[in-house]
């Protein structure tokens, strides 16, 4: 049976509102700084079993010896890791009484993104009467998922309830020793999502953070683990098009995808964190490790729209371990003002007849720097591997930069690799053509940017695609000189 909004409303009227926000979390923040004790304390706080504590400690010890990477084409003041509180109960945001109290700029953005009034209220943290609240929605969806045997819950709960699954897969794709930020995340992650799709099950809905089960505590060091068992399918949506004014400056998330034989995972991200103001002050540092592993005939598809954050450092990757496995990467990265993005992908071909596709679109405006950095590696045993990469950059104004750093390493003669990259600007003739037809310049640019990004937008789930399209428009506002 289909679950509709009316059903929900009905349910909410008849049922007492049970799940408030962060009801059982006491306000508590650890003192700033990181040490083994802090790691143990976080683990205790989460009531974790011993193996988990040991795992975190191991990661911490590795992290201590690591140095912060500097190879990315971004410049920023390094965070002081002893000046961060590694565990804090979610902050209660000031509750507002009506939308009138919300920052009008934010409201304007909401309106133009086409976000519904109720959702707007939720996002701006306005108290609402009819609770279109994610908690209850999620609970109901959880029931539907439960019937299919799909597990979708915060990873902290999963550690308690499904320790065997978490233990089996956690850290198998992104080992604790992988890199500086992955090690840090492993040591101190407070929460995140866990998703398991059983054999042969096609997940009936887009699993999305819109319906995040517990919003609290997932902020800074998020850990996501998605396991698709043999023959299953899941589409996972992360993030939100609405601007999110997060107070945490450093975000170091880890996402691990495991696609077992014949399964498919589609992972879509829209990231629109605070990019800092027009002068480049403030903004989020987004240092993310995302990686998936494909067994035989499996497929992993990453789609991302990155418009936020002051500094982005992100390479969603695929390890094509199984024969006939497929990896895809579709990305739009937009940088404006003083934003810096160094993003791309790694496609590691290990199995026979593996295929990968990379479509990366970078748009730079203002004084921003936008880099594509990618690796296509064909190992000696990867017979008949195939890769197609395309990296296009669009520059707006002469104070921004677009860079491409593709690495191609081939050790098998049957491989077929194509890589192409172009850099260009919006043609004056194209603009003139639009102007002639009564489309003003700003609209014309939006139109052209949309065309430029279409190959990627097409890969987003429908509802997301529409919003992402508008988001691009808004992100580039005022960049026309």
């Amino acid at each position: 049976m289909k679950y509709t909004e009316e059903d929900l409303e009905q349910e909410l009227k008849t049922k007492e509102y049970k799940y408030g926000f962060y009801t059982d979390i006491e306000s508590e923040t650890f003192a700033k700084g990181l040490s083994e004790d802090v790691v143990i304390a976080i683990s205790k706080k989460k009531n974790e079993p011993q193996w988990m504590t040991d795992w975190r400690l191991e990661a911490y010890r590795v992290w201590e010896k690591m140095e912060e990477p500097e190879w990315a084409n971004v410049h920023y003041t390094k965070p002081n890791f002893q000046d961060i509180a590694y565990y804090s109960a979610p902050k209660e945001k000031p509750k507002l009484n009506s939308l009138d109290e919300v920052d009008p700029e934010l409201l304007d953005t909401f309106k133009r993104l086409g976000i519904s009034l109720d959702e707007q209220k939720k996002l701006a943290n306005v108290a609402v009467d009819i609770v279109m609240d994610s908690v209850s929605v999620a609970t109901t969806f959880k029931k539907t998922l439960g019937e299919k045997g799909i597990i979708f819950m915060p990873i902290s709960e999963a550690i308690q309830e499904h320790p065997e699954l978490v233990k089996k897969y956690l850290g198998t794709v992104v080992p604790t020793t992988d890199n500086f930020y992955a090690a840090l995340n492993s040591a101190v992650f407070s929460d995140g999502s866990f998703c398991y799709i059983p054999k042969g099950v096609k997940c009936p809905m887009e699993l999305s953070t819109y319906f995040r089960i517990n919003e609290g505590g997932t902020g800074q060091f998020e850990r996501t683990l998605v396991v698709a068992d043999k023959g299953s399918y899941v589409s996972y949506l992360e993030g939100c098009t609405a601007p999110s004014r997060d107070e945490n400056q450093l975000h170091a998330a880890v996402v691990e995808l495991i696609a077992l034989d014949d399964s498919e995972i589609k992972y879509s991200t829209v990231q629109n964190w605070y990019p800092g103001n027009k002068e480049g002050k403030g903004g989020v540092f987004n240092f993310v490790t995302k990686r998936g592993i494909c067994e035989n005939n499996a497929k992993i598809s990453w789609t991302q729209v990155e418009t936020g954050s002051a500094v982005t450092w992100k390479y969603p990757s695929c390890i094509l371990k199984g024969n006939n496995s497929v990896g895809e990467f579709y990305s739009i990265a937009v940088t404006n003002n003083h934003q810096q993005a160094d993003t791309g992908t790694k496609m590691i071909h290990l199995g026979k007849n593996t295929k990968s596709t990379i479509i990366s679109k970078g748009i730079s405006a203002g004084k921003s720097q936008n880099s594509y950095r990618g690796l296509v590696q064909i190992n000696a045993r990867a017979e008949n591997a195939r890769n197609f990469s395309q990296c296009d950059s669009l520059l707006m104004g002469n104070e921004c930069g677009a860079h491409t750093f593709p690495y191609i390493e081939v050790k098998n003669k049957s491989a077929q690799i194509e890589h192409e990259a172009t850099t260009s600007k919006i043609g004056e003739e194209q603009l003139f053509y639009c102007n002639q037809r009564g489309i003003d310049t700003e609209k014309a640019i939006a139109l052209i940017v949309n065309g430029f990004s279409k190959e990627v937008l097409n890969n987003l789930p429908m509802e997301f695609a529409v919003e992402a399209q508008k988001l691009l428009e808004i992100s580039l506002e005022g960049s026309v000189g």
Binding site: W71, I378, A380, S393, L395, M396, G397, N398, E399, C400, G401, A402, H403, T404, F405, P406, Y407, I408, E409, V410, K411, N412, K413, S414, A415, Q416, I417, E418, H419, E420, A421, T422, T423, S424, K425
Partner: protein, 437 residues
């Protein structure tokens, strides 16, 4: 003794031995200090990620072979492009061979670096150009520290040099491994035109390491064509550092043909300091055995309305490794730049490796920049088609490879060089192709 220590300890003796003016001495000692602190490049450096010099640096090289080694023209004739008249600058174990060379001072200078560095006649040119664009990286610094001998070419305004200039470095080192560090300076003034053919050739089975630096200055409206033929003995390794500065309306092309040698590293750097400049970088690389060739190119677009064209073809067999690391930088001011970069590779063996890293760094918006990189195999159907028509498989394959490399070969302006390259390719592929390309 480690090679670095050996070099460091021999520096003082080297400096005392040569008669030099104080300016050059300063440049040398600065470069020497630079090398002392940097050492040899390791794979940890991003620019050397795919090429390790470890095996090459392990050898015990003799740095300054003091015996004058003479060689018979008949023995080495085949290494010259001998069917054309040409100026020749021949060096044997780093020492000038007047017997094999043909220099000139008539209207323009084709002579020796050692002379240019010491004689007052050349002082102005040396002051203006020597070590002005060479980078201060490890190996270039090392070369600068020991810079003494090599080719000195100065072409004054409006002179068109009627025949090509061949620069050949022979190594005889029959009793020991040899390290050479030739240093070349090529200055081409306004509206002048010159063609240069460069070759390094080992005549011994002992290991050879050549660390060469060439600085080329092309003034306004100048045209310079450089052909680098690298078909050396399998024990010979080469690091070829070239720095080219171009002024407005100049055209400089560098063709690099890499067929031989042990480890070959080409650092080719173009700096465009003017408008309406064209830079052409082309290469054919055909390798087998355990050979390793690394093309590391940089084109720096500094001013508006310039172009660059890169086209590198590679064919890799057996356990060979090919690296292409191409970088195009477009400065903020360099609007209306057109930069093209193409790198196509064919792998013939499962043990062969290709590593490519075509980079673009663009800071200007009104530009057209593109790069393309492919890695694949010969078309089986095309091969089958030829076999059907009675062309044996081996020849068929060779024909396909010729066709593949032809976009580079066809832009060679000296017919004799083109023919020679075609012959080397045919020999490398083990076929006898009876047609002119």
């Amino acid at each position: 003794m480690e090679l670095k220590d050996k070099l460091l300890s021999s520096y003082v003796a080297f400096e005392n031995d040569i008669d030099t003016n104080s300016d050059i001495h300063e440049i040398r000692s600065k470069a020497f200090k630079n090398f002392e602190s940097l050492g040899f490049p390791t794979k940890k450096l991003e620019a050397w990620k795919y090429t390790s010099l470890n095996s090459v640096l392990k050898q015990d090289y003799s740095l300054f072979p003091n015996k004058e080694n003479a060689i018979e023209l008949a023995d080495v004739r085949k290494y010259f492009i001998h069917d054309i008249d040409a100026y020749k600058l021949v060096f044997i174990d780093g020492k000038y061979s007047s017997f094999l060379s043909e220099t000139t001072h008539d209207t323009f200078d084709v002579c020796l670096m050692s002379a240019a560095l010491t004689k007052p006649k050349y002082k102005a040119v040396i002051e203006n150009y020597f070590n002005k664009i060479a980078k201060e990286d490890n190996l270039t610094s090392l070369n600068t520290a020991f810079a003494n001998e090599g080719a000195y070419i100065y072409i004054p305004e409006n002179v068109e040099v009627e025949k090509p200039i061949q620069i050949i470095n022979f190594t005889t080192g029959s009793e020991a491994a040899t390290m050479l560090q030739p240093r070349n300076l090529i200055v081409v003034e306004k509206n002048a035109h010159v063609q240069i053919i460069e070759r390094h050739q080992s005549l011994t089975s002992n290991p050879v390491l050549t660390n060469s630096v060439t600085e080329v200055f092309a003034a306004k409206d100048a045209t310079v064509d450089i052909y680098k033929i690298q078909n050396d003995d399998e024990k010979a390794s080469l690091v070829d550092n070239s720095y080219i500065e171009q002024k407005s309306n100049s055209i400089v092309s560098v063709h690099t043909f890499s067929f031989g040698g042990n480890i070959t590293r080409n650092n080719l750097n173009f700096y465009q300091r003017g408008e309406h400049i064209d830079s052409i970088l082309k290469g054919i690389t055909i390798l087998d055995g355990k050979q390793h060739v690394d093309h590391n190119t940089l084109v720096h677009h500094i001013e508006p309305n310039c172009e660059s064209h890169q086209d590198y073809k590679g064919i890799y067999d057996a356990r060979s490794t090919g690296v292409f690391n191409g970088k195009v930088v477009v400065n903020k001011e360099a609007q209306k730049t057109n930069a093209y970069q193409k790198n196509n590779n064919v792998l013939l063996s499962d043990k062969a490796t290709v590593n490519a890293k075509p980079q673009l760094e663009i800071f200007a918006d009104d530009v057209k920049c593109s790069h393309g990189c492919t890695i694949g195999q010969l078309d089986d159907e095309a091969l089958f088609y030829m076999q059907q028509r009675g062309i044996p498989k081996k020849e068929g394959k060779a024909l396909l490879m010729f066709a593949f490399a032809n976009t580079v070969l066809e832009s060679v302006k000296i017919p004799e060089v083109k023919q020679r390259i075609a012959k080397i390719i045919a020999k490398k592929l083990g076929v006898d192709i009876g047609f002119d390309l």
